[in-house]
Amino acid sequence: MIEPLLNCKDAELTHNTQKATPVVLSTRLRLARNLLGTPFPERASLAQRSDILSKCSDHLSGLGKMKKGSFFEISELSDLEKQVLVERHLISRELCESQQGSGVYINKAQTCSVMINEEDHLRIQFLKTGFHLKNVWKQIDRFDTELEEHLDIAYDSEFGYLTACPTNLGTGLRASVMMHLPGLVLSDQMERVIRAVNQLGITVRGLFGEGSDATGHVFQISNQQTLGEQEGDIIDRLGNVLKTVIDHEVNARFKCLEDSRSKVLDQIGRAYGVLRNAHVVNSAEAMNMLSLLRLAVDFEMLPESNRAEIDRFFIECQPGHIQHATKSEIEPDERDVCRAKKLREELGSLPALDFDKLADLT
């Protein structure tokens, strides 16, 4: 069912060869919305959930942004298909576990997905490669306004947009930026950064891993509070903190090179060797090696055009994607073999690491 989506040649995160940037992978904004008159999904009857699902999906299908988009009812997807969508961040784990009467609408370029009957009736998500908080806010704001023209949205002048969980009240806005922070991790500064940004009401979460342990040095950083502040202020505050994190990351990278040049170059060289030659690679190892390869691109040891390709592997080397590509649910051992094969084949044409380029940088 989800093949057209996976085969789409202009999917934002996997085929956007031009826009991949150092440090920031992507920007993602989410709005939580509910409709008046029906209990929130958790307390709604199946009939009420089905009613909301058809009402919302009908309305969504008429919106310009959703032209040629795909709609999936969650109960009709296989576990593997759901896992693939989770790995692409197009749906949440919670939506996978929801009862009947839940669904998701995804536009063709996979820049917009709307979950129906997750924790709230509607969870609207917009995303874009790179660091674009203001631009993505503009887009999601316009879409949200279009949506409310024909849907009666639950709203209160004191509490703002009404949501099932009090942590989302007010704007219902969660703005997150995916960041690649190998410098901060390798220099042991990540914990300090997490503490510091936590104090400012900003949350850090590891990505590409179960729970909160990070693999691939990729972190999702987002606002914690949604009430008492305008959307623009939430975004500005987060943006300013992230700019500082970017500065720290860049400094940490150069400091690593200064202090332990051989060690860093050795790690990058080994990653390059493993990815191109290994025959068994588990998911965590793949992420960590790919992270080092991305760092090599940022250090100009590999052409810039390889950055987007590496970002695509971050997504396609996760367990669900590997199994989906082999068209069967396979055991972890076998998966590691398939993953290694894919990496060997796809990275076979990579040019040699140019260690001399690095000399100009420092």
Binding site: N34, F40, A154, T167, G170, Q224, E231
Partner: protein, 170 residues
Amino acid sequence: MGENLKCSNCDNQATVHLTQIINNKIIKVDLCESCAQAKGVTDPEGFSLADLLNKSHVPTHEEDSSLQCPDCGLTTADFRRTGRLGCSSCFTVFASLLRPVLEDMHVGTCHKGKTPDVALSRQSITVQLDKLEKALAKAIDEEAYEDAAKYRDQIKSLKEEAENYEYSQS
């Protein structure tokens, strides 16, 4: 920075900093040594943030403990257990329990952001129409035909206004 955090449960200095993911939400809790022990933080599965919120923030006045939402049936106990509201009416019913929780959770307690203007004006037109139609029925019932005519005109112009509004928006 980060050195003088207070325990979320009492006023002691927090030494255990926990970032929990509950239902895909990241929630950060700082606890002192003894509260961490008492809450069973060593066993993350056994630790419920909802419990923690109840004990530290939600007042336990007798009169507040027996509330129930007329629309979705959510009770005070449900709210305390799950930390979730059940429908839009819950916000009126549980407002007094909710406000102290929001104070600690957010930057402010009153919404300052975007408003769903189109939906709100459409809703207020619906509410007005509803009122007028009831008044019209009552007037006809009482054979107050002059009043009935007046209500009918008002309903007509309100419906026209609603239509124009929709056209101008799309």
